[in-house]
């Protein structure tokens, strides 16, 4: 592969496999504690600098974490007790704030309940120390600003506040009816004195008895404000949002369409991709994920349920129904089965930071594509090959439709994705690297390491054979490890600059470093 040329020049051959260590956990479950559905994490995202991390959950909340090891920790706050501070260089985070981003809604026109679950979070450009992010549920995207605000104490008022309060009007109001209220109180003589009109003359030197309130503040608090709501643009469920490198636009994708928005304009968006056939019975393919190129403002990629990735160029035309490039792997002839199409569906795509490579995750594998080579992936990593015998069970309990996310390291040399039993796998994708590590999202990530190096797919004959065997002992893989299909690690994110991974196991956020 070509992508890692710069790094491949390193004289020592392929980089050493990383040794992953546990760093932190937030919201760890105690033994026997039941997980509340609303607490399950449904989105994880680092910001561009890696100084902040955001998670979204099924309850519509967004929780922000900030990095502590780069800055002076400063005054200790909530959750500090969770962490003991070893002097370390790996990223450490602490809870920063949280807010309710989405509420459950009901679409009366379609008689549809709209879940509050956060599907995706994307960070926007930081400005003036305020953080900005986009969060979306199935239908509505929101633009949030999180900012420190001073808590103000006001003193030295002109009007005694206690008096005003005793009057029944909170701190009074300056419209004309306040005058009446005071009159009614009898404290003020009957004379007309509404708001001074323009003919009221002020003495040239001003009136010395008036004073400005004195504001004192020594504490600040974080306030999240919803700045804009981008609604009513999607008939189907939004699966992705992605910012453009121009800092002014973003896209949102649902099953059949991709819309382009300006961050500042919430009442209109432009449809740029529409794969909806004239007759819904002709529908063969849906959009599963979409992402803008990290630095070319005109390029974006989207993946489909049939396992293809399309690269489109916004410069070519206003409606990008025809793609500029199509990345698809030809299936080996004769290997078709009932599950072929289902497992080919791509659940997530990510551009590498350099924009040269695209990582895709389907049910069985991770694939790395070079945008300049559309004949096939430059690398394929087997993630769930051991589950091939059990596809039947997985189909019956719907697990086969689970949408696992994937991520790349900042240097583009490693990729990672989640699996069942709260496991996640890290692969080296640099030239010559055979690194393949399985980790468990727990305080001891190496506990359940399974040595299953990547290998080519098995032939069809073996499927039928092992499906049968799988049926006899469900939940146990070829190595005798049991698999728990209810604990799946769908969401994870790689720190943009360091070897650090944040992953979600149900309601807990685990962080690892190497």
């Amino acid at each position: 592969m070509n992508g890692g040329d710069e790094v491949a020049a390193a004289p020592s051959g392929p980089p050493q496999p990383l040794e992953w260590k546990f760093s932190q956990v937030f919201g760890e479950r105690t033994a026997g504690e039941e997980v509340q559905e609303v607490d399950i994490i449904s989105a994880i995202e680092f910001d561009k600098s890696g100084d902040h991390l955001a998670t979204g959950d099924r309850g519509g909340r967004v929780v922000l974490f900030e990095r502590t090891d780069t800055k002076d920790p400063g005054g200790s706050r909530r959750d500090l007790e969770r962490m003991d501070y070893p002097i370390s260089r790996h990223p450490e985070f602490r809870y920063k704030t949280e807010f309710q981003s989405h509420e459950p809604e009901f679409d009366y026109l379609k008689s549809l309940e709209i879940e509050e679950k956060i599907n995706k979070i994307r960070w926007c450009q930081t400005a003036n120390g305020a953080l900005f992010l986009l969060s979306t549920n199935d239908k509505t995207i929101k633009f949030w600003k999180v900012q420190e605000k001073k808590i103000k104490k006001i003193s030295d008022m002109n009007v005694d506040p206690s008096k005003a309060v005793s009057n029944g009007s909170v701190a009074s109001s300056s419209n004309s009816n306040s005058a009446k209220q005071y009159l009614a109180n009898g404290g003020w003589p009957e004379k007309s004195y509404g708001c001074p009109s323009n003919d009221f003359t002020f003495p040239p030197g001003g009136i010395s008895s008036l004073r400005l309130p004195v504001v004192t503040s020594n504490e600040t608090s974080l306030v999240a404000r919803c700045r804009r709501v981008y609604a009513h643009a999607h008939d189907y469920h939004i699966n992705s949002i992605s910012n453009n490198s121009d800092g002014e636009t973003f896209i949102s994708a649902d099953d059949l369409r991709i819309n382009l928005w300006n961050l500042e304009i919430s009442n209109q968006s432009f449809n740029i991709v529409d794969v909806k056939p004239a007759n819904m019975e002709d529908l063969t393919e849906v959009i599963t994920s979409a992402e803008f190129h990290p630095n070319h403002c005109n390029m974006l990629a989207y993946s489909s349920s049939r396992g293809s990735i399309r690269l489109i160029d916004l410069r070519q035309s206003a409606l990008c129904d025809s793609h500029a490039k199509l990345f698809e792997e030809q299936e080996a002839p004769g290997s078709r089965s009932f599950f072929t199409e289902i497992i080919a569906s791509i659940s997530d795509i990510k551009f590498a930071k350099d924009g040269r490579h695209i990582l895709s995750r389907d049910y069985m594998t991770l694939k790395l594509w070079d945008v300049n080579m559309d004949s096939g992936p430059v690398a394929t990593f087997q993630v769930h090959e051991h589950l091939r015998p059990k596809l039947c069970d997985l189909y019956e309990n719907d697990s086969i439709f689970d949408k696992f996310e994937c991520c790349l390291s900042g240097d583009g040399l490693r990729v990672a994705t989640g699996s069942y039993s709260n496991l996640f796998r890290v692969f080296g994708c640099g030239p010559g690297s055979a690194e393949a590590t399985t980790l468990e999202a727990s305080k001891n990530p190496m506990r359940r390491q399974v040595q299953t190096p990547s290998r080519p797919s098995r032939s069809l004959s073996s499927i039928t054979r092992v499906v049968r065997r799988g049926a006899e002992s469900p939940g146990v893989d070829a190595n005798g490890n049991s698999f728990d299909f209810t604990t799946k690690l769908l969401h994870l994110a790689w720190h943009p600059t360091e070897n650090s991974i944040a992953c979600a196991a149900a309601n807990s956020l685990y962080m690892y470093y190497a």
């Binding site: 002109n158 708001c195 009136i207 400005l212 070519q316």
Partner: protein
């Protein structure tokens, strides 16, 4: 604190509310900042109020926006232009906030203040401010700075001028696309203040960098800058520097850039002058007319008349007209619609012969377009072509198109054509109108959609205005009055409405003799809605008719209605009676 004098109380409250919990009250106080300032006096405004406001920078955006706006007109309250500089610090802070509209307003206010400031103050306070913003840590400050250079530059010394130009050039290469966009947007304004010598060298090289930016959004704004810059340059420099850029842009990979060129081309032609337009921009324009992106063709088609006006007729016929023919059968209805809305304007440019020979077939094909918007756009500009070739040639094809639109199943299309009927009537003349269109106008009064009936009533009035009362008496009024017997009350109501509109046009005599009896008989209607509408119509007739008629006919009718069992009828009848009383008193 009871020490405050009672007339000052409202101001005291206003001041306190600058810090109220309720955002509405804070906004209210900020909006009346001038009152507070006058109460405090100029000196305390400078020394206390302005610093106080400067610290208020983490308020809600709505409050900050109001503050940015108020401060822009605050010079009189701080003691005139010699103290204007005290207003800069709070506005500088506002220039750095995250919300774009607040920053834009702050920049606008700063520009306004800067334009009034004394030269030495500009040097001492304003130029350093621009430099601080341009070096700001966050992109927000740098974005704002771009909009202030044109104020700072003229009064700067030579060294500062060099520095400012260098800073601006730096901003055009900023890492953040937002900053480059702002620099591109403001380049024209800044360039207008720069000396011609530097304009040709430094500014043009900045401009060239922007035209090659990676970000489409930056190049888009650079296109807009072309026209502004071109107007500043000598014609020959413009041809040398701007023209190649425009030609390049017209072939840009990004359709949005080409779209922008198509939209701006007319202004760009003005900048480069007629010679180069003919030689270089006509080919570029022809390319845009044939662009493979429909959006670009829409923009180009919409400018076809304007563009032809600056060409001589031969060139227009030779080069542009073939494209226009193509566009009239374009696959995109929006392109055809854009073309239809301007193509009529080409007739005066091309002259009678060319119009009949070449344009007329295009008009006619567009008039038969399957898409109603296209047909409507042609009809709406009928007067322009009429002046050139006369209506006779068109009327044959026109009528079927109008009839089809008049009966279109989309009521908005019917509504649109109704609105053009008076124009058509004036162009076609009485004779033609009587024969063909009169019946349609009556038909609309019976339309199923209220908006159409409403527009039809208005149309009847405008026709009466156009052709005069005598004609209306013959061709409109009898048919309208006939319809008062419609079995459905909603249609009867439309007729009442039409009568009230017609009455002022027809004049007192006809109203009394023809219209009034119909209204009075309608007061016996069985539907209360009709009855109270009768009351309303009668009220509107009072000023038109003679006093004696009011006494003899209208008032008795109203009195009867004011005793109606229905409460609404009584209400409107009483109201009408009261207004007739007022009319009597005033006379």
């Amino acid at each position: 604190m009871a020490t405050i004098d009672e007339p000052l109380y409202p101001i005291a409250v206003l001041i306190d509310e600058l810090k109220n919990e309720d955002i509405q009250l804070r906004l209210n106080s900020i909006r009346r900042l001038s009152t507070i300032a006058r109460a405090l006096g100029e000196e305390r405004t400078r020394k206390e109020l302005i610093p106080f406001l400067s610290e208020n920078n983490d308020d809600d955006d709505e409050v900050l926006l109001a503050m940015a706006e108020e401060l822009g007109v605050f010079i009189p309250y701080v003691g005139g232009v010699e103290h204007a500089n005290v207003l800069l610090p709070p506005l500088e802070t506002l220039c750095t906030v995250e919300e774009t509209c607040v920053r834009d307003k702050a920049v606008e206010s700063l520009s306004r203040i800067g334009a009034q400031m004394r030269e030495q103050d500009l040097v001492e306070y304003f130029i350093p401010l621009v430099k601080r913003l341009a070096a700001g840590e966050w992109f927000t400050a740098r974005v704002s700075s771009c909009g202030l250079f044109h104020i700072a530059y003229p009064s700067a010394s030579e060294t500062f001028k060099t520095e400012l130009r260098a800073i601006y050039s730096q901003l055009c290469q900023d890492d953040m696309p937002m900053v480059r966009r702002s620099a591109a947007t403001n380049l024209g304004k800044f360039a207008a203040t720069v000396e011609p010598a530097y304009l040709k060298t430094e500014i043009m090289s900045i401009f060239e960098d922007l035209t090659q930016d990676d970000q489409d959004s930056v190049r888009l704004l650079a296109v807009e800058g072309c026209a502004a810059l071109g107007k500043l340059l000598e014609p020959q420099d413009c041809v040398a520097h701007i023209l190649p850029v425009i030609v390049n842009f017209s072939q840009d990979k990004s359709w949005r850039v080409r779209y922008m060129v198509a939209n701006q081309l007319y202004e760009l032609c003005e900048a480069v002058g007629p010679e180069s337009t003919r030689a270089d921009l006509v080919p570029a324009y022809v390319r845009l007319l044939c662009d493979n992106e429909a959006e670009v063709r829409i923009a180009a088609a919409g400018k076809v008349t304007k563009f032809c006006r600056i060409l001589n007729p031969e060139l227009a016929i030779q080069r542009i007209l073939p494209c226009v023919k193509e566009l009239s059968t374009d696959s995109s209805q929006h392109v055809r619609s854009a073309l239809a809305s301007v193509i009529m304007g080409m007739a005066p440019v091309l002259g009678k012969d060319a119009t009949i020979e070449q344009l007329l077939p295009i008009f006619l094909s567009l008039l038969k377009d399957e898409f109603p918007d296209v047909r409507l756009n042609i009809i709406s500009k009928l007067d322009q072509v009429n002046q050139v070739i006369g209506i006779d040639l068109l009327s044959q094809s026109l009528l079927p198109a109008i009839v089809e639109l008049a009966e279109d199943r989309h009521w908005r299309v019917r509504l649109a054509i109704i609105e053009y009927i008076p124009l058509l009537a004036s162009q076609l003349g009485v004779g033609f109108f009587d024969d063909k269109l009169g019946a349609l106008c009556m038909q609309w009064l019976n339309d199923k959609v209220y908006s159409i009936r409403d527009a039809a009533a208005n149309n009847v009035k405008r026709l009466a205005e156009e052709f005069g009362p005598d004609w209306a008496m013959q061709h409109i009024v009898p048919q309208v009055l006939d319809m008062i017997n419609n079995p459905h009350y909603l249609y009867r109501m439309t007729i009442l409405h039409a009568i009230s509109l017609l009455a002022p046009v027809m004049g007192s005599e006809i109203t009394c003799s023809t219209l009034l009896p119909v209204v009075v008989s309608a007061s016996k209607d069985r539907v209360p809605n009709i009855k109270f509408n009768v009351a309303k119509v009668l009220q509107s007739l009072i000023p038109i008719v003679d006093q004696s008629v009011v006494e003899k006919t209208i008032r008795p009718c109203l009195v009867e209605l004011s005793e109606d069992p229905d409460v609404d009828v009584r209400f409107f009848a009483t109201q009408a009676l009261q207004s007739s009383d007022q009319v009597m008193m005033s006379t």
